[in-house]
Symmetry: C2
Subunit: 123 residues, 2 copies
DNA sequence: CTGTATCCATTAGGATACTG
DNA sequence: CAGTATCCTAATGGATACAG
């Protein structure tokens, strides 16, 4: 019976057959977990700094992923009407709910792939 | 200083700047978390059943992702020399270490996207 | 049954130049 | 500074057919 219950994603109206699949559709994608991790570590970050810390993401992809995270309600975009422009990204309250996932990803990477969690804390 | 320490992945010799990134390279990919979740739920599963439960993955993609998971030591492939052939997939001991990640993915999907964890348990 | 091979369409992603 | 626009390649995915 449960197999017939489906969930519809806000953004793309896709149907899911499993909660893992649903999660992946929201925070999956090559850069999204890294973006979310970054935001979680530093709270607020500007576009430029974000791009640097993701070492090598193209502006096209960064913008695309940020827009999707915004649409899904995970990320907040605050624009200051200045010249030159200033835009700050941060996690929404809803965005903070993915923190346990990010921590699980980080813990496993640190423990089993031999590196510490230092992103966002480097000197 | 820590920013200079890199980790090399067994499979593709890629360098990582962050443990999250390293994790994504191993269990990222569209089907991998779903495959791992499936294996975690049912312990042992045959190729055919796996393909059915992933509702729509093509044999080409399924095989590819399974091979990579094998190479990374997460998945065990047991072949029975029979006709017709029988192949069983399961998590290795190392593979079981990703369980917390899978559970975090499932919990979030269930809680925030409104569906229960039932995959692998449907009647 | 468990795949591999092939062809094709779609999409994700990278490089770079440029704009308000 | 914070992105767009453009062009391009690589990866993904679907539909078979077929092999051992």
């Amino acid at each position: 019976m449960a197999i017939d219950k489906k969930h519809i994603n806000i953004r793309n109206n896709k149907e899911y057959h499993c909660p893992v699949e649903a999660t992946l559709d929201v925070i999956g994608g090559k850069w999204k977990p890294l973006i979310l991790w970054q935001l979680k570590e530093v709270d607020v970050i500007r576009y430029n700094k974000l791009q640097q810390n993701l070492h090598g993401v193209s502006p096209r992809m960064l913008t695309k992923q940020l827009r999707e995270l915004e649409e899904d309600g995970l990320v907040n975009r605050k624009m200051y009407p200045e010249i030159p422009p200033k835009v700050e990204y941060s996690l929404t309250e809803f965005g903070w709910t993915v923190a346990p996932i990010l921590e699980a990803l980080c813990d496993w990477g640190s423990e089993y792939l031999g590196r510490q969690c230092t992103l966002g804390q480097e000197e």
